[in-house]
Amino acid sequence: MTPKLGANDRVTLYLSLVPYLLQHSPVSVTEAAARFHVSVADMRDLVRKLSNLGIPGTEGYYLPNDLFEINFDLFEDDDVIDLLNAVGIEATPRFSGTEAATLVAGLQFISGVVDAEDRPSVTALIQKIGLGASASPANILVSTPEPPIDITALRHALSAHNRVHFEYRNARGENETRTVSPLRLDLIGDTWYLRAWCHLRDAARTFRLDRIEGLTETNVAISPEHQALELSETLFDVRDTDLAVVVRLAENALPLIAEYHPVIESAASEGAVLATIRFAHLTNVARCVARYPGIITVVEPPEAIRAVANYASDALNGYAKP
């Protein structure tokens, strides 16, 4: 979970750790590490290094009083940080223009996800972040994606831990009534998904919100076992029954289809690669390929190539021949 820290990460951590410790030390290494989302080993290292750093005194030498000082016995014996002397900095630093911009854009993005009553706070926060930046926030904006259906009942069910039921229409237009234990609402780009335990399939499933109709909250509580379920990073789990399709595409076009989790098989020619993508249905293969005509071509199996060709010719049939 904790990525390897770079130089800029560490400087920001030093600048932030000091004001935190001035208010909260003594604090255990474990707690400080958890707070700042770093590993315990990294936190120990930061604190140890911090005690060698400070300001050059009037004579241009670093003298003991000009260094950060921690209680070493407490640190080495009990794994507790107690900051005894701080130099130079006391308060939380300002955000850079880019840092502020990520918070502002992030706030705009989430304002569609949060409760309606939180929306004014989000707007106020955007103002406040701007005041806390050292330069005007960089010019980056993310517009607020509005949910395709009314999510009031769903939000309530998520916080009350109740099951919901709804009509779900799949990509092939087939309808089914589903009863699910809702676990999380994912907003990825401008597409909304419900992550849930599906009681019809008895498995974890992801549902597109724009395919859901007539969602109602039930009074059946979600079992603790389902509540504790760890959701995978990927939206759609690959199943054994999925069809492996080999496509050819330019290597630099791979980010376009990242959400399909392509596995690169080999390099083809002229910067092109062959990649395998797993699909639940042939319809999905055609939909994916049709978005990137001439950029992605299905290589095998034959039934997938045929499905793509048929998909295109069926759609073209709707238009009169010139």
């Binding site: 004001p19 130079g88 706070s121 904006l141 376009l256 045929r306």
Partner: protein, 333 residues
């Protein structure tokens, strides 16, 4: 070797602690990370050694500024030889968060969620740094926002480069396929504002060849984005990204496509959810860009048929024809 982060942190501390600022010589000869390499005097060895420290200091200054720490430069006349002497200093007011910028536990929860939305691209590091600074204030978030996981998509590979160039007021050079064209053309433009709108990233930029502002869709940039060396585009700071978003919205309000949707299909449900239920089998779809709507419509296959405008129908037909041509005849029937 002193680690880079220890040198940068020591430089910040030294510049904050000194009330009247430090000269470059004072910095290079005393600050941890520089001092051991400093040679006093004016011998050739000294000049060479100090010149490389000097370059390191210039780079460090930029890095520190990018982190949000403002370094002031004070110029004053030296009494003795009448030379201009520059002193560097970090003013406490400019360094620390103003005292009225404080957050409640609930605001902290919103900010954590906002920061967590950046998980892709170079801005995820920036948003992590912003969060680290927030955490230093010691406010614990109340946890009422569990149950939602928002994620901003940054899947255009041009994004990171454009963002960096925009931040440096630089000029970008890239190949771009204009909608309706089949060939890419090289463009040089200074990025002014980046906006994600309906799931797609756009950049408002000053095109230095056309000598005018242009809007580019990032997914149509087909080359690496490079920065023109030693060139900058100086301009007033304006809310460019907000203006870009407004322009896209205006454009969408001005153009509406008529799409016939087969009843009881996935398309009927999803387009209905987005743009209102079909009336007599037809949905009106506002759009800002023919190509983007084409992409959306081709993924509904024969569930949809474009009635108007003609250029949208032509664009859908063209895409489907390429799909057909690249796949039919690949297998023996």
């Amino acid at each position: 070797m002193v680690r880079v982060d220890e040198r940068l942190f020591s430089l910040i501390l030294a510049l904050i602690a000194s009330r009247h600022g430090l000269t470059k010589d004072q910095i290079l000869s005393t600050v941890y990370g520089y001092a051991p390499g400093y040679v006093s005097g004016s011998s050739t060895t000294a000049l060479q050694a100090n010149a490389s420290l000097d370059r390191m200091f210039e780079r460090d200054k930029e890095t520190i500024r990018d982190m949000g720490v403002v370094i002031e430069t004070l110029t004053q006349l030296d009494d003795i030889d009448d030379n201009k002497i520059q002193r560097y200093r970090i003013a406490e007011d400019a360094y620390q968060l103003p005292s009225d910028v404080r957050f409640t536990p609930h605001e902290m929860a919103l900010l954590e969620l906002a920061s967590s939305a950046w998980r892709e691209g170079s801005l995820s590091a920036e948003s992590r740094h912003a969060l680290t600074k927030l955490i230093s204030m010691g406010v614990t978030a109340d946890s009422q926002l569990i149950g939602v996981a928002p994620r901003i998509r940054v899947n255009d590979r041009a994004f990171d480069a454009l963002q960096a160039i925009q931040e440096a007021n630089g000029i970008a050079i890239f190949s771009y396929i204009k909608p309706g064209d089949t060939q890419a053309r090289e463009r040089t433009a200074a990025p002014l504002g980046l906006a994600q709108w309906q799931g797609n990233w756009f950049v408002l930029a000053f095109d230095t060849q056309a000598n005018a502002e242009r809007t580019f869709l990032l997914s149509r940039i087909v080359s690496d984005v490079r920065k023109l060396a030693n060139k900058t585009y100086e301009h007033d700071s304006e809310p460019f990204a907000a203006r870009l978003t407004m322009e896209l919205e205006d454009r969408a309000r001005g153009s509406e496509a008529v799409v016939e949707v087969a009843p009881q299909t996935d398309a009927a449900l999803r387009l209905g959810a987005l743009y209102g239920q079909a009336i007599e089998g037809r949905v009106l779809v506002p759009y800002a860009d023919v190509d983007l709507l084409t992409d959306e419509l081709v993924s509904f296959g024969n569930d949809v048929r474009v009635i108007a405008p003609p250029e949208l129908a032509a664009s859908v037909i063209a895409k489907l024809t390429v799909v057909l041509l690249t796949h039919e005849g690949m297998v023996t029937p």
